[in-house]
Amino acid sequence: MNWLPTLGVAALLAVAGYAALFVAPTERTMGLIQRIFYFHVPSAWTAFVAFFVAFVANIAYLLRRAPKWDWLGVSAAEVGLAFCTVVLVTGPIWARPVWGIWWTWDARLTSTFVLWVLYVSYLLLRTLISEPERRAVASAVFGIFAFLDVPLVYMSIRLWRTQHPQPVIAGGRGSGLDPRMWQVFLTCWAALLALMVLLLVQRYRLEALRREVEEMAIEGERRNTRAS
């Protein structure tokens, strides 16, 4: 019954896509392009949820030393990074027609970018240590530091940018949302969260299989050397 959750998430995503494109009312000043917001913002929130899961898994690994926490940590970081990439791609697509430029060094954009770089470094670090336990400990410590850094990065960039006048401020979302917009928004978030959980589970299983193969390879080598 492996395909059932996948099918469910696909259906949810289809509903969310339909709702974002046809159910939500068209925004008055930005027009159709505003509809990207229903995937842009929920992706950002979902990425944060995934990074938080990775943070908890990193701490749990250091305290408990069960490999499953390491697998969960890397899976959540990787899935979070995927959603963070969606945010960084959909953002400029929206910004180009609305702000007139692809990218501005605004607080939110810059801190998301730094966040993305932090987790790319985390995954890169993992590829550069081959001994499994060392890799797990080193990347868990780095993951914890990276996550703790996020609010500091955000605060520093925000304070810094508000001190300087901004050429492009326009396009900030208003504080209130139309009730129907809210419904669509929450539907989209639910769909993306479900997608995140699905990817997380799949990635976790893949990681578990990879470790199994790695152990079998080590065991095989040991037998070879004993035989020869």
Partner: protein, 224 residues
């Protein structure tokens, strides 16, 4: 043995090892000087508006220097297998890390103090009116830099490509330090000098967060 005493002994060992050769200090100072000179080619350093860039490039040079000079902190131990000996010592493992953080902090701080007058002359900035407050900013910024840097030096020392990896891990984490110390330094070099409490408290928050994180999680990096 108490953690404080063990830390002092590790610190003394680090200082003794460094001041026998002064390799690290000499290299760092020359490196920062070179970066500061190279920066001057990318814009007109005599223009009065380029003075606005001066604090930023000074801190960028410190960050680059830190991400390179902190690297030997653990690889030097690996080369001679002395980290294993340190671990066997009947002291709390965290003392090894704290001693190294303190030693690296003192090295980088010393390099910065020696470089400050040269920098002031080259970029025509007035450091004397706010010297004490400037040192406070240097102190807070450098503490944050060396705390995270020493921990990541232990992380990177276990990986391949470690020389490239350390800057890669360290520089994005240091974004708040770069922004806060640059802005605070810029405020102090302005006329009249002014110390922004926002940036000083952000630097202090960074130091506290990562000193605590090091205290809680750092020692896991030292186990075998």
């Amino acid at each position: 043995m108490s953690i404080g005493r063990a830390t002092t002994i590790i610190l003394a060992k680090e200082l003794r090892a460094e001041f026998r050769t002064r390799e690290l200090l000499n290299t760092t100072i020359v490196f920062v000087l070179m970066v500061v000179v190279l920066f001057s080619f990318t814009f007109d350093p005599t223009a009065s508006e380029s003075r606005r860039f001066a604090p930023g490039l000074l801190w960028l040079a410190f960050l680059f220097a830190g991400s390179l000079m902190l690297h030997p902190s653990f690889t030097r131990e690996q080369a001679n297998d002395t980290l294993a000996a340190l671990r066997l010592a009947p002291i709390e493992p965290i003392a090894i890390l704290l001693g190294k953080v303190l030693a690296n902090f003192l090295f980088l701080m010393l390099a910065e103090i020696l470089l400050l007058p040269i920098f002031a002359v080259l970029y025509d900035v007035h450091v004397l009116p706010a010297l004490g407050r400037l040192l406070l900013v240097f102190l807070l910024g450098t503490l944050g830099l060396t705390t995270t840097g020493t921990v990541f030096s232990a992380v990177a020392s276990q990986a391949r490509m470690r020389e490239l990896l350390l800057p890669l891990l360290l520089l994005p984490i240091l974004t708040p330090v770069l922004i806060a110390s640059t802005e605070a330094t810029a405020g102090l070099l302005a006329d009249p000098p002014e110390l922004s409490s926002t940036w000083v408290s952000l630097l202090a928050a960074f130091d506290i967060v990562f000193l605590t994180a090091t205290w809680l999680f750092g020692e896991y990096l030292l186990e075998e």
